[in-house]
Symmetry: C2
Subunit: 198 residues, 2 copies
């Protein structure tokens, strides 16, 4: 086993499992009663842990829905770095987001429910936007390097934020019940709306 042991080991597995369980229960409760009508104490009771432990896994109540922003942000950034440098920036960004959507670890039903809850509560939307700001800080330097000419930073920030808006709109639309399109398809269309001439 020792050659198999990675930083963390079984402990990390247990931790991830508890974390996922809390998130699942919380989203279910929020979906049924509304975010503001569910207390951390109730979530803790439903899971079978103390309120103190819930706050240990998630710094803020909102994070039970959002998850770990930094992790996925790094994922997108790594994808972007790996794209060929002569590829148009918008194509590279689209491909990077697509890779994130294709990640197998994501539970479709649970993810959709989380997005739905997210859309109904201002506090959650705000926290989600904070995640986007974190992503933007990671992606902007990479995009800046791909640009030429004046105002590289300003233009990079604009492009990154606009692409994140596309990503957000695609997922939000996808979470709505009547939408039969895949998130991937919606993402492509949203990107297309910013490049009418391409």
């Amino acid at each position: 086993m020792s050659d198999f042991t990675r930083p963390g080991g079984t402990r990390a597995i247990a931790r991830d499992a508890v974390r996922a369980r809390i998130s699942e229960v919380a989203v279910d409760l929020f979906d049924e009663h509304g975010f503001d009508n569910v207390t951390v104490e109730q979530i803790a009771a439903a899971v079978g842990v103390s309120p103190r432990s819930v706050h240990r896994y998630f710094p803020a109540k909102e994070d039970t829905v959002i998850g770990d922003p930094a992790g996925w942000g790094e994922h997108v950034r790594d994808q972007l770095v790996a794209r060929p440098s002569d590829e148009p920036i918008w194509d590279a960004l689209l491909a990077s987001y697509e890779a994130l959507l294709a990640t197998p670890g994501r539970n479709e039903t649970q993810g959709k429910k989380a997005m739905r809850v997210l859309g109904t509560t201002p506090a959650l939307r705000a926290r989600n936007l904070e995640k986007h700001l974190l992503w933007a800080r990671m992606l902007t330097p990479v995009v800046t390097e791909r640009l030429d000419g004046d105002d590289r930073t300003l233009r990079a920030e604009t492009i990154v934020q606009a692409s994140l808006a596309c990503f957000d709109i695609a997922l939000t639309t996808w979470a709505e019940a009547n939408s039969s399109d895949s998130a991937l398809e919606l993402l492509r269309r949203s990107f297309g709306a910013l490049q009418p001439t391409a």
Copy 2:
């Protein structure tokens, strides 16, 4: 004087003055000590009112910096509606934001300080982006009407959010100390970053 009396009268004037005063004091304190290191109680004491009254004027502590989102959003929407219908959508949006920046009522120094504070605290940035979501809900229907073809709503949402991102980036960059460009100029450049072919 009676012919001068508008709905609200002197009471509304006093109310607006108190509101402005609280906001001003709060921003100053945040700028000096950091948003998280200033309590509502301290703001109240500095102004000379009770903490309860601060919460009466501003539902959340963050709102002391952000101000009234709905009002300015309506302003932008009205501007947009007034634009000629054959004008390209991006030009119309740019002109609408420019009109907002040109509004005389805005205090330059205080506004810049508020934007600076806003940029240093994630919670504030997020709350500010929530304001943008409110604006988006107002602007999207107007933009949708100007579009033809498929996916009008999705495309309208994308365009509106992207333009709001430009607006945010322009103001944030403008608030940074080393920037000598006007907010208007930055806004134009940010818009330009999304239309390389135009």
